[in-house]
Symmetry: C2
Subunit: 343 residues, 2 copies
DNA sequence: ATAAAAAATTCAATCGATTGCGTAAAATAT
DNA sequence: ATATTTTACGCAATCGATTGAATTTTTTAT
């Protein structure tokens, strides 16, 4: 690409025989420039195809009007929805999004966060990687005076703004629903327990049983079954147990639940009569499997909107120190065919 | 958020009783700074928790190491995959992505593009909105000396770098496959014809018939059926025709194909024996419907990688003017149950 | 017509990092 | 020990826009 000299406010000023100050003021709708001059400046700016250099402007102003977002993967439904939601609310206020993906890798996450600090973003929005083990990099964000908003997968010990789902409650409701529908031996596929969300979902599962004073069967709780393949594998193991489960709550994702469904089909086990299935996330495909899969909707786009609004709210009263605040969105249990055991 | 004074190279210089120049040079691995000094500087920078101000650096250097991406929607599988692919290849070279969504609205797209020009991005990657009618804003990108890469939905008349799928060929193969499998009256659900991709897909359909000298039946070509709902609606209309089709090629998307499938199921029409269905995009759900849906894989993540690499290739020989170049990726027909008519 | 007040501009510094050029210091050669 | 080359560092301008303070111009009041 050939280098193109772009017009600056100096070019406009020169052409008009005035100062760059006036041009700047005119372009920023300052009241201290004559209306006729302003019109002339705007007209000339237009003619010269002037575009403000946001870099220079931001450098001077000390902020970037940019929000950095770090997620494990951009192309994962939940995250892309959240991002879309954030973009929706922030774009209209003139903020831009810089997107990074950690790929679930702690070191890359650190790199991403550092890049964002370098970029002088005004806010870092993050959902941590599955293998994150410490949060120095997040503390670092705060130390640099950058607003930090965690969502979904959060470091609980860090007192920051957080937007989360009430995973515990959602999970509790899902399991309660299954119990109420007559399932007796409900297995749990759990995700990496270093992530808060999976701990919470497990807690919901435990609470559902505890409240009904039903003992937990430990062999029905399977660790780390959070992909379709792992879900399928776990299911094979479970269904071959001497006393197999009559329901499986794939608390990690709908993909995992899909793995369960496929194995059940392959083993000729009838869903939902012989095996109930519940997933998590309300992925589009859950309503078109047969039977359709009971799952939990997280309102991901709305979550993104909430994050955006939260940021503006805090920016608005930026003079006072940010009080750590947790916004919890209640997910919704979507009851479908896969848990419809006839009593 | 309280304002935090961030350490600059001046702070480091002051602490060490040297000049900012040396600090800058040390931090940029310039050879003209003594090794011992460098070490000292780096150590001090670390102690003071220094983070380079990318804004200032970029302003001085005249580029932003940032790539702007404009897509209709971030949370649409194809696009989020492409973005993930771009991010993969560009991040490791120190480039960041600024993401905007046009929401399929021309005016918002113009806004997005202008924002990116303001941001002094080094490259704009775009897939145009469905209702785009002129491309002045894209020309504008070029005029500002910014590399422009179009992908998938491109303005054909603009000579730029383009990364596209060979939609025509893919569509041709899909329709040929259906003809070969014995379907006689194959309907086409087409998308907005102002978008190149939908024109090409239609052409592929036409060519498949032309090559076999089979006449086209106009009433089987339905305009603008590119969402699940519109696909369903079109299907209802088609299947109620005196001479209904025996196959439907939902050239717009798998969602549209899903609409077809659901209507067929509702009307008790057997797929694939009484009605063949082919979609487009290879969305995850197409392999779990029953029957699974024949579709076309676009290699979207790979497409993103290609875009990233193309950019670096052009940046590498940035001295010469960019020759317009079109990289066409061959999509793959994925044959599944929905087109398995028994001959 | 003059003074005072208000409005419009200009001046000059600033944001933080980079870099061409000049100079001092160190290393090597004579 | 002196001349020459290298190496290391400092000086000062620059990138483009913004902004407080100073100055000029215009308007209003007397």
């Amino acid at each position: 690409m050939k280098k193109v000299k772009r017009t600056t406010i100096y070019d406009i000023a020169a052409k008009l025989g005035i100062t760059a100050s006036s041009v700047s003021r005119a372009l920023n709708n300052s009241s201290q420039v004559n209306e006729k001059t302003r019109e002339l400046i705007i007209k000339t700016a237009d003619e010269l195809n002037y575009k403000r250099n946001t870099l220079a402007s931001n450098l001077r102003k000390g902020h970037s009007k940019t929000i950095g977002v770090v997620v494990p993967r951009i192309n994962q439904n939940f995250f892309s929805n959240v991002i879309a939601g954030i973009e929706e609310t922030t774009y209209q206020k003139g903020y831009n999004l810089i997107i990074c993906q950690s790929g679930e890798v702690h070191d890359k996450e650190i790199q991403c966060v550092n890049t964002l600090i370098n970029q002088h973003v005004d806010c870092v929005v993050i959902s941590v990687a599955a293998d994150s083990y410490d949060y120095q990099h997040l503390q670092n964000v705060i130390d640099h005076g950058i607003q930090l908003i965690q969502f979904d997968r959060v470091a609980e010990e860090l007192e920051t703004l957080k937007v989360i789902n009430d995973n515990e409650q959602a999970s509790f409701e899902a399991v309660s629903h299954m119990i109420d529908n007559g399932y007796k031996r409900i297995a749990l596929l759990e995700g990496p327990q270093n992530l808060n969300i999976f701990r919470q979902r497990k807690n919901g599962y435990l609470r559902a049983f505890a409240e009904r004073k039903i003992p937990i069967i430990n062999e029905l709780v399977i660790e780390n079954a959070w992909t379709k393949e792992l879900g399928a594998e776990a299911t094979r193991k479970l269904l071959n147990l001497p006393q197999p489960p009559d329901a499986i709550f794939a608390s990690t994702s709908d993909f995992s639940a899909l793995g369960v469904l496929e194995v059940a089909n392959a083993m000729n086990i009838k869903v939902p009569s012989e095996l109930g299935i519940c997933g998590y996330s309300n992925e589009a495909f859950t309503q078109i499997t047969s039977p359709s899969i009971t799952t939990i909707d997280q309102f991901s786009v709305y979550m993104g909107n909430t994050i955006g609004n939260l940021f503006f709210q805090e920016v608005a009263n930026s003079d006072v120190a940010v009080k750590p605040k947790i916004i919890s969105i209640k997910p919704e249990l979507i009851i479908r065919g896969s848990t419809a055991k006839k009593a």
